[in-house]
């Protein structure tokens, strides 16, 4: 072999002997690599056989690529470490509510909307007659497929309307509230003695279970399910979202009681997500006992409970977890400490089209007409129950959603803009650097114009930049569109819920309906069983 190489030495500049040396060095290198790889495999096999490690991954010689090139996801396990999330975007909207609780005429009508609950059958059985009286906490309807979970009235009064939509689907069950509220009385179980199943049955029968949500699929919790963990996010980073420190002020004891109840519902832990960037964070959160606290710092969606679950203990196939928001915990806590179904909470009226953006104190499911009366400055507006990313459009006389503690009022954007895509004149929120952000005001007035038409997926890397999870969103959505079940599952559809990908929908250059696509995928997986 060596003679052959020297015979090939044609060029006089020594290039060939350089080549020879290089070739021999290369062979030696390959030999070493082979030795190391064989040794690595043997070590891994031994680790598996002796039972030290299931797959042998931890006993490998080579570092894992994720350890070197790790992105901003970190599986924080210590209770007091701060997880800094870099991906995301805080939409700079104008119209944040002033931190004062204003006085408005109290709403007289309240409604529970069955459409707020995922997986609810279109026509639930309403248990109370029209014009029948109910006390706050009395069951008013249930899903015929799951009769053990009752949905209860947020206020005492008279059930006056059952509004229906297409195909006789029940859209609202409306209650005319009494001036003086009367409450249902309970035979409260003793938290120290009752079994987990007994507690779940009590909560299901008395309308407390719908306050929680079960993942995957974000449905009303099943009474037979045993959640691996329960997660509560104590801060909301959605655009113009209300401040939960104000929500929990005066309700600290109820909040703690609610956490105690939740601790009994799971065999794992109750995890609390706290905002590390909040200087005025309430002591109810920081001093909560019986829970595991996790601190997060980052732009939206750092406050989303789904993102926090991913950082703390990601949902795998077959896992069930329950989530609750702060108002849910307070309401549950009030039932167990005061014995009353008191759904009173602070609702933030937000949006640039409001004269006075402020907080108001109302019961759950309030009618927004009296709250917004005389407050809206523009004619052509859209009223949204919830935030601009995940909220539902309601009429100016509509009702707040079950889980919503915010009303956003924004301008409708049904105008043509000449060469609007080339030389945009009015400031608009965008993650793109093609807009002169330095010339824009810090908080902008946004409207509902789509700023473009629906197109196929073209730009890549956009969704990943606003989703702080180890998931490839664009490939997930493509696999949902083509109904590829295995890929959907493999790519992590169980970990996502619409609110987590709402920001992906906001930044989408091709104006795709991302949340709808995700819901379709979740429904497909849920139908699988």
């Amino acid at each position: 072999m060596l003679a052959g190489f020297s015979a090939n030495a044609q060029s006089p500049d020594g290039g060939s002997s350089n080549l020879l040396v290089a070739f021999i060095a290369f062979l030696v290198f390959i030999l070493l690599v082979i030795i190391v790889m064989v040794a690595d495999r043997l070590m891994r096999v031994t680790a598996t056989q002796t039972g030290a490690d299931k797959t042998g991954e931890n006993y490998s010689v080579f570092p894992r690529l994720e350890e070197i090139f790790s992105s901003s996801k970190s599986y924080a396990t210590s209770a007091s470490s701060i997880t800094k999330l870099k991906k995301g975007y805080d939409i700079p909207l104008a119209g944040e509510a002033e931190k004062v609780v204003g006085e408005t005429a109290a709403p007289v009508r309240y409604a529970i909307k069955p459409t707020d609950f995922q997986g609810m059958s279109p026509i639930p059985k309403v248990m109370v007659e029209i014009e029948g009286t109910v006390k706050a906490g009395d069951p008013i309807f249930y899903d015929k497929k799951r009769p053990e979970v009752k949905f209860c009235s947020p206020v005492s009064g008279q059930l006056i309307e059952v509004n229906r939509g297409a195909k006789r689907k029940i859209t609202e069950v409306v209650i005319l509230a009494d001036k003086e509220q009367s409450y249902r009385s309970y035979d409260l179980p003793n938290l120290n003695e009752v079994s987990r199943e007994g507690l779940v049955d009590f909560m299901a029968a008395n309308g407390l279970l719908p306050f929680l949500r079960q993942r995957p699929y974000n449905i009303v919790p099943e009474v037979t399910a045993v959640p691996k963990n329960i997660f509560v996010s104590t801060f909301n980073t959605a655009p113009l979202a209300p401040c939960s420190n104000m929500a929990v002020k005066g309700n600290e004891a109820a909040f703690q009681k609610g956490l105690d109840v939740l601790a009994k519902l799971t065999e794992g832990t109750v995890h609390l997500g706290l905002n590390a960037a909040d200087a005025g964070i309430s002591s109810a959160f920081t001093d909560a006992s019986g829970v595991s606290k996790h601190w997060f710092d980052g732009p939206h969606p750092a406050g989303n409970v789904g993102v926090q679950i991913h950082q703390i203990a990601p949902i795998n196939k077959g896992d069930i977890v329950w989530t609750a928001d702060v108002n849910a915990v307070i309401t549950i806590g009030r039932v167990f400490s005061e014995g009353r179904f008191n759904t009173e909470r602070l609702v933030a009226l937000t949006g640039a089209e409001l004269e006075n953006a402020q907080y108001v104190k109302v019961f759950q499911g309030a009618n927004v007409e009296t709250l917004l009366e005389g407050n809206i400055t523009e004619e052509n507006v859209r009223v949204v129950s919830g935030d601009v990313l995940t909220g539902e459009k309601i009429s100016e006389k509509g009702y707040l959603g079950f889980f919503d503690n915010q009303v956003t009022v924004l301008k409708e954007g049904d105008y043509y803009e000449m060469f609007g895509w080339l030389v945009p004149i009015a400031p608009r929120p965008s993650i793109s650097n093609t807009f002169p952000h330095f010339a824009y005001p810090e908080k902008m007035v946004a409207d509902t114009n789509t700023h473009g038409e629906h197109r196929a997926f073209v730009v890549t890397g956009q969704y990943e930049s606003v989703l702080p999870m180890d998931i490839y969103p664009q490939h997930l959505f493509k696999s949902i569109i083509v109904n590829d079940f295995e890929r959907m599952e493999g790519l992590g559809i169980y970990e996502l819920v619409e609110e987590d990908v709402a920001l992906c929908e906001f930044v989408c250059t091709s104006k795709q309906n991302i949340q709808q696509i995700l819901r379709k995928g979740l429904e497909m997986m849920r139908d699988q069983g």
């Binding site: 060029s11 500049d13 290039g15 060939s16 350089n18 080549l19 290089a22 991954e57 994720e66 655009p239 990601p314 196939k317 077959g318 949204v384 601009v388 990313l389 995940t390 409708e412 954007g413 049904d414 043509y416 803009e417 060469f419 895509w421 080339l422 945009p424 965008s430 993650i431 793109s432 650097n433 093609t434 807009f435 509902t448 114009n449 789509t450 700023h451 473009g452 197109r455 196929a456 073209v458 890549t460 890397g461 180890d470 998931i471 490839y472 490939h475 890929r487 493999g490 790519l491 992590g492 709402a502 906001f506 930044v507 989408c508 250059t509 091709s510 104006k511 309906n513 949340q515 709808q516």
Partner: protein, 418 residues
């Protein structure tokens, strides 16, 4: 708005004249951003849309257009030995360049957009913006004297077979502009390689070069120029300068290595771009400005660009060490400014539809384009420039690269469950 009402008034009916309606809709959405509001999802949308993304790529190309047009004229006159300083004969060079470029631009856009309009009518969807960028890129990668009928054929091939057959914008596997060029490359190879094609209006008779004749459009401008007292084109058939080769730096390097290149072109000439080549590729600083603009605006992926530079550098160094052919002795850093590397890096490789879509995949994709492109350039005697073929090859492999990145993600998720 009265203008708006008038325009809306002349809208053709969708059922009675579908083609006119699609045409109207295309121009209307070009002039007016639509008034659709959000439904069934988020209530506020980002101000960025696909038209805006595409138009910024076209804007980034404009510097290359300006220089490339002028360079067509400059190379022509340098070959004839006249007006050898860059700025002398400014009016002649600019006019000559425009006379060559404008037909190319018009033909490629009219043919491409016409086909897109027709398909949009057939399928009943609005005209999609994909061709804005391809139509701007195609004239820049063609030789200046390309017969227009062949240009039209190549654009038709690229749009019909490369794009519409797969489903339109966002669905194509191969880069459309490169597909047009590769059609010319394989169907009319003598019109895109060799020593006659890269300098405009120089012909060969046997072994003799001479300046070609000027068209009647040149004649019209001649009368204007002589009236103004400026230099004119004159008659055609002029003699070329002594020692003229017409070869691009790459062709010279293939024959005689770095020494041959340095005989004819200085490094400064190659970098600043006063050399023969495709219309848009020659001035490297202008292309780099365009590339930096696209990175700063967040439109093109810096990962692909950086990894492509790394791939080319690594492979260049390997060739320098190996050094068995003359081409391999070209220093590795010279490969960047000898051909169309920067143009391919900035505008062709970064096409989001055809590139790898995962961030990790983009690193691998760019690196492989850089290395394989250089292998094709240096080792393969038949292909003078490797980037077109390397990018097309990696376009085919991009889904495979993504597949493995996604599989790694899936495996990671599964092992987490275990």
């Amino acid at each position: 708005m009265k203008l708006l009402d008038f325009i809306k008034g002349i809208e053709p009916d969708k059922k009675k004249s579908p083609f006119l309606h699609t045409l109207y809709d295309g121009f209307f959405t070009f002039a007016f951003a639509p008034n659709t509001t959000t439904k069934n999802g988020v209530h506020v949308r980002d101000g960025m849309d696909l038209k805006r993304t595409m138009v910024h790529v076209v804007i980034a190309l404009q510097l290359c257009y300006v220089f490339g047009t002028y360079n067509i004229g400059h190379q022509h006159f340098v070959a004839l030995g006249e007006h050898t300083a860059f700025l002398s004969g400014f009016h002649l060079k600019l006019v000559h360049g425009l006379i060559k470029l404008i037909p190319l631009f018009v033909v490629s856009n009219v043919v491409g957009l016409g086909i897109e309009f027709w398909y949009a009518t057939k399928k009943g969807h609005p005209i999609e913006e994909g061709f804005l960028v391809s139509g701007a890129l195609i004239p820049l990668i063609m030789p200046p004297d390309l017969p227009l009928i062949w240009l039209a054929l190549s654009v038709a091939f690229a749009v019909i077979i490369g794009k519409e057959a797969f489903g339109g914008t966002g669905m194509n596997i191969l880069n459309i502009a490169l597909l047009a060029r590769v059609f010319i490359f394989f169907a009319y190879p003598t019109d895109i390689s060799g020593d006659q094609v890269w300098i405009s209006n120089i012909e060969k008779d046997g072994l003799e070069y001479f300046g070609g004749s000027y068209s009647f459009v040149h004649g019209i401008f001649d009368s204007v120029f002589s009236g103004l007292g400026l230099a004119t084109f004159g008659e055609g058939g002029k003699a070329v300068v002594d020692g003229y080769t017409g070869a691009t730096p790459l062709a010279l390097a293939a024959k005689g290595g770095w020494a041959a290149v340095q005989e004819h072109y200085t490094t400064s000439q190659m970098i600043w771009g006063t050399i023969p080549g495709s219309i848009g590729e020659s001035s490297k600083p202008l292309v780099i400005i365009g590339a930096l603009m696209l990175i700063g605006l967040g439109i093109a992926s810096w990962r692909i660009m950086l990894s492509m530079v790394l791939g080319c550098a690594v492979m260049g160094m390997i060739f320098n060490a190996w050094d068995v052919t003359v081409f391999m002795d070209v220093p590795w850093y010279a490969h960047f400014y000898m051909g169309s590397f920067f143009f391919a890096m900035a505008f062709m490789a970064t096409d989001p539809v055809t590139a790898a879509s995962t961030n990790r995949g983009k690193w691998i994709y760019g690196f492989l384009i850089g290395s394989i492109g250089l292998i094709i350039r240096v080792i393969n005697p038949a292909y003078p420039e490797g980037w077109m073929l390397a990018i097309l090859l990696l376009n085919v492999f991009a889904p495979l690269i993504d597949h493995y990145v996604i599989e790694a993600n899936i495996k990671r998720r599964l092992s987490r469950a275990a």
